[in-house]
Symmetry: C2
Subunit: 239 residues, 2 copies
């Protein structure tokens, strides 16, 4: 932490930005859970709230970027400090994308609510979404106190999300094959499951930033579950 | 362009980074076209090359980020210059995600090559991918000479990609309904079409960065085609 010519001012500014990121993360966490609940209860109004609420998340990212640019211009941080600032900006970018996925999930609710019920689908997706939102919560905790162990724990849990996604894909494909009327709703469910899987990837990236800031190096290649890019090949072979 | 205490050194450094971004963009453009060709010719080897090649794209982003951090630390740019630097870093991030989508397309090739042929699917996706890679090429041109008109033109063309995606969705759903054996390949094709649509969105974001850097403000809300989040609702109603 050398080269710092305005020590406390920089620390205070960065702390303000970190608090903004944590607050933004809280909004995203809530958006994911609310989108999943709207899906399960077929609540188009709640889904509409989530879609509208994404504007707050987008605005939060813009504000954080502006804060970062002001900080860079004013404090001219170097070395570790600069790395911490860049990581915070990347974190905000990833939270914004997580918010987009939650919005996308919510957008599909009205269509799904108007169509046939696929037994167990919304409930299973809600469990998958809960897993990811818990990962997000823990990643934000790890970020707020630079807890490397917790960040590693979050990364490890992503394989569970991937496995759950693959199980869901198999289930949805079976439903599609059983009855052509299931195809359209299941297509939406498949996209939602894939989006939740991607949320897990983004949270994992966030946890990697935490480790990068704390230790100055990225973690090694993380363990990945089976990819859904190839899962349906097995499905084909099983039919 | 005030507050600049090392005028030519900053300009030279930024120009170097811009060239790195353009070179990275060229790799991404090629990856998209090669992935689409692999899909059409059912060439698993070519697809494997695209998947491997994504590492070069990822490494290029890391290198650009490192260049940016060095530039920030060394030249401490202010105001417009700082905004240009941040935009360049965001551009590299978007190119990296474009590369991921191309890789994802390529990953699906072996599965699709081993399965039933869906008439016209790969050819239509190749046309969609070509449209996006041309948008990317023009966006990079607009970026290299800060051509705002060309950037606006790129943004306008994204609606065409969205419309094409929706037409493809309808087609794939019809194939799925006709024969359950089409479900698995069509699911992959649907994901590919969606990924190409997202590539169009990312290129559009890139064009918005160009306008932001050139004019200091983001363009207004852009015209969007119909979203695939709702398209299949109509499809349901038509059946």
């Amino acid at each position: 932490m050398s080269n710092r010519h305005t020590f406390s001012a920089f620390d205070e500014d960065l702390e303000q930005i970190r608090l903004s990121v944590l607050s933004m993360g809280g909004h995203v966490e809530e958006a994911i859970l609310r989108a999943a609940r709207a899906l399960e209860t077929r609540d188009a109004d709640l889904a509409g709230d989530v879609v509208q609420g994404d504007k707050i998340i987008d605005a939060a990212e813009e504000e954080i970027n502006a804060q970062v640019v002001r900080l860079l211009a004013l404090r001219q941080p170097q070395a570790d400090d600069l790395r911490a600032v860049v990581a915070v900006m990347k974190m905000a970018g990833e939270l914004e994308r997580l918010g987009d996925y939650a919005k996308n999930m919510a957008k599909r609710v009205p269509v799904l609510a108007a169509g046939v019920v696929i037994d167990g689908a919304a409930g299973a997706l809600k469990r998958q979404a809960r897993l990811v939102s818990q990962m997000l919560k823990d990643m934000l905790d790890a970020f707020s106190r630079l807890d490397v162990d917790l960040a590693h724990d979050v990364i490890a849990r992503d394989a569970e999300v991937d496995d759950m996604t693959n199980a869901l894909f198999r289930e949805f494909i079976t439903h599609m094959m059983e009855d052509p009327r299931n195809i359209t709703p299941c297509l939406h469910y498949v996209f939602i499951a894939k989006n939740i899987e991607r949320m897990g990837d983004l949270v994992t990236h966030g946890a990697e930033h935490v480790i990068f800031v704390a230790e100055g190096a990225r973690p090694g290649e993380r363990a990945k579950g089976l990819s859904t890019s190839t899962i349906t090949a097995q499905q084909v072979q099983q039919q």
